[in-house]
Symmetry: C2
Subunit: 200 residues, 2 copies
């Protein structure tokens, strides 16, 4: 990655350290995925001591969330959804996602989506969040193996992401200004089918 | 729009003329929408004679397609779809859209989508295409009034756009590498419901 360039020396805990760690973490999470990336490896790439990484970001989850500038912790937003009965989880998920987008977090979410569509390393980061954190959380207690969960997760994501792009970026009416209840009535059956109905 | 600036004089047909016309057309289509934008108004804004606009772009449709750099004319791509029986139109549409994205047109489509997500005037142009050309074409012969068609069109768009983002940008597996037939089997019922099923 930095072949041919002189190795950076260890840095002291300056203002800049946080940014350097984030830059290395973004690179490695995008290249290797969440699982294969270690805090040690990030510290090495950034030329800092591992203790610095813990100091600024606590743990791998905290660092990862900072990398993609998530405006809210998915575990908090989705905690209520993950505990709903499976047969109403589609609409609960839609309500939670619409609530998040129509909140002060909206500009950060727009920036996150723009980043993912314009840069493949940003896309890789968002993919990791969706798969490792959001999908895992939502489907954990539902029947099916990991492959089935991945398939269902990617289908759910396809409808939710399309809703967000249509509503907040393209502003396609009437979806763009419809009440949450109306959107949930229209798209709920789709999300529910992807979560729990038998698939071909 | 150019208040306070000296009016540009009429331009002769230089290399630059085409770009100047395109720039005015993008601005006006985005600000006013397709219907309210006239070739005359574009020519005026660009400081060229209307004949120049016809010379470079033939008609309003041609100019509009050039504005958004559509890699294919939607009428050609969707001609086969619009003539299918209503009850199989969902899967026909998915096949056509996947065929287009997995063709040499893919880079241009990726650029089109990136533009729409990163710029609100580009988003406005894509919205115009979707509403005035694609949706109108696909739903023309189906029951329902204009408002119902708009609603159905925005729902269809939400699923198709989400599929494209998930498959070609985020590369969410297994959707990213699934065969067209598998994708159609999974998402076909959704698109079909949005096109023809009773909605709440």
């Amino acid at each position: 990655m930095s072949a041919g360039l002189p190795r950076r020396g260890r840095r002291s805990g300056t203002e800049n350290t946080r940014a350097v760690i984030l830059s290395s973490a973004r690179k490695l999470f995008a290249e290797l995925g969440y699982d294969a990336t270690s805090l040690r490896g990030i510290a090495r790439d950034a030329g800092v001591d591992s203790a610095m990484v813990h100091h600024y970001f606590q743990d791998k989850d905290g660092l990862f969330a900072a990398c993609i500038e998530l405006p809210a912790d998915p575990r908090t937003v989705l905690a209520g959804v993950a505990h709903t009965a499976p047969e109403v989880r589609g609409e609960a998920l839609l309500h939670a996602v619409l609530g998040l987008w129509d909140s002060p977090a909206q500009p950060a979410l727009i920036a996150l989506m723009r980043g993912a569509v314009s840069s493949s390393s940003r896309a890789a980061l968002l993919r990791e969040v969706l798969i490792k954190r959001i999908v895992a959380l939502l489907l954990a207690d539902l029947p099916g193996d990991a492959a089935a969960h991945r398939l269902r997760g990617s289908l759910v994501a396809s409808q939710l992401i399309g809703l967000m792009i249509s509503r907040y970026f393209l502003k396609l009416e009437p979806l763009a200004t419809a009440d949450h209840d109306d959107v949930v009535a229209l798209l709920g059956p789709t999300v529910q089918r992807y979560l729990t109905a038998p698939l071909p």
